[in-house]
C-alpha cells in the first residue's frame, strides 16, 4: 500500500474512534444540546445528498438518467445492495444504447 493509503486508514480510524469516544464521554450533553441536536440530525442526510451531487457533477446525461433509475429503486426498495445492482444495470444498458 502507498503511504497515502496508510495515512487514509490511520486518520479515518482515529476520527472514527474519536467520535465514538466523544459520544461515550460527553455524548449525553452533546446529543441533548438544543443548538446541536438539529444540526446532528440534519447533517448525515445532507452529506449523502452532497455526495450524490458531487458524483453527478459534469457527468453525461446517461449517468443522470441512471441516477434517476437508482432513485426510483431506492424509494421503492429502501435497500442499498438492490439499488447498487439496479444502478449498475441501468448505466451498463445506457452505455449500450445508440443515442448515448
Amino acid at each position: 500500500m502507498s503511504s497515502a493509503e496508510w495515512l487514509l486508514i490511520g486518520l479515518l480510524a482515529v476520527a472514527s474512534y474519536g467520535v465514538r469516544l466523544a459520544g461515550l464521554i460527553g455524548g449525553r450533553a452533546i446529543a441533548a444540546n438544543p443548538r446541536l441536536k438539529p444540526f446532528l440530525d440534519d447533517l448525515p442526510g445532507c452529506l449523502m445528498v452532497g455526495l450524490v451531487a458531487s458524483s453527478l457533477a459534469g457527468e453525461p446525461i446517461v449517468t443522470w438518467l441512471a441516477a434517476l433509475v437508482a432513485l426510483a429503486v431506492a424509494i421503492t426498495s429502501n435497500n442499498v445492495v438492490v439499488t447498487m445492482a439496479a444502478g449498475l444495470a441501468a448505466i451498463i444498458v445506457g452505455h449500450q444504447l445508440p443515442f448515448f
Binding site: L12, G27, M48, V49, L51, H95
Partner: protein, 226 residues
C-alpha cells in the same frame, strides 16, 4: 451474549452483501485485500469507509477524503450517547471495546429488544457487535480478493455503483417533507461548487453545511411566527 450473537445474523447477512460490494470497489481503486481488512477492522464504519475510499479514489486527496468520511460518522455521537444506560455497569475496558464494535445494525437491534425486555443489555450489544465486525471484515476482504482478481471495471461504469449506494443511503435518511429544502439546497450548492472547480470533498462538506443551516433558519423563523 450468545443471544446477541445469533439474533443479529439476518441483519449481518445484509451488511455482508454491502461489504462485499465495497470490497470489490476498494480493490479496483488499488487497495490490497489485507488493507481493506485492516481498514474494516480499525475504522468499522460502513458508509464512512465507502465515502472516504470513493473520494480518495477519484481525487487522491487524503485530508478531504477523511473529512468527508468523518463528518458522516458524527451520528455516532448520538448513537453511543444513547448507550450510557446499557453500558453503565461494565468495566471501562469493556466500554472501550463495546463502542468500537457498535454499528447501526446492532445498536438498533439492542435498543429495540431492550424496549420490550429490560434484561437485554451490554452482553447482547457486545455479542451482536462481535458478529457485525467479524462479518464486516470478512465480507469486505472477500470482496477485495475478488475485486483484485478481475479486470478494470471502471469502463463499465463501476464507479456509478458508489453513486447508487449514496442514493440508497440518502433514501434511508429521508425524514419526510422537512427534508426537502435542506436536501435541495445541499444538492444545488454542492453541484455548483464542484462545477466551479472546488475540490469535491470540500464542496460536499460546505454544501451540506449550507443545507443544514437553511433548515435551522427555517425552523427558527417558524418558532418566531408561532
Amino acid at each position: 451474549m450468545k443471544q446477541g450473537f445469533l439474533s443479529i445474523l439476518p441483519l449481518a447477512a445484509g451488511a455482508a452483501l454491502y461489504g462485499f460490494a465495497f470490497g470489490v470497489l476498494a480493490a479496483q481503486i488499488g487497495f490490497p485485500w489485507w488493507g481493506v481488512a485492516l481498514m474494516s477492522g480499525v475504522v468499522h464504519a460502513g458508509s464512512s469507509q465507502i465515502v472516504a475510499v470513493e473520494q480518495f479514489g477519484s481525487h487522491g486527496f487524503v485530508l478531504g477524503a477523511v473529512l468527508a468520511g468523518a463528518a458522516l460518522n458524527l451520528r455516532y455521537l448520538g448513537i453511543i450517547a444513547s448507550l450510557s444506560e446499557v453500558l453503565r455497569d461494565v468495566p471501562l475496558r469493556v466500554k472501550l471495546l463495546a463502542i468500537h464494535i457498535t454499528g447501526d445494525e446492532n445498536w438498533a437491534l439492542t435498543m429495540a429488544r431492550r424496549a420490550h425486555d429490560p434484561t437485554i443489555g451490554a452482553a447482547f450489544l457486545i455479542g451482536s457487535g462481535l458478529t457485525m465486525i467479524s462479518v464486516w471484515v470478512i465480507s469486505t476482504s472477500a470482496g477485495a480478493l475478488i475485486g483484485g482478481a478481475i479486470p478494470d471495471l471502471e469502463g463499465y461504469g463501476l464507479g456509478f455503483a458508489f453513486t447508487a449506494a449514496f442514493i440508497a443511503m440518502a433514501r434511508a435518511m429521508w425524514r419526510g417533507r422537512r427534508t426537502v429544502l435542506p436536501w435541495a439546497v445541499t444538492f444545488v450548492v454542492t453541484l455548483g461548487l464542484v462545477q466551479a472547480g472546488m475540490g469535491a470533498a470540500y464542496a460536499i462538506v460546505l454544501g451540506s453545511l449550507v443545507g443544514v443551516f437553511t433548515a435551522q433558519m427555517r425552523r427558527a423563523r417558524r418558532e418566531e411566527t408561532a
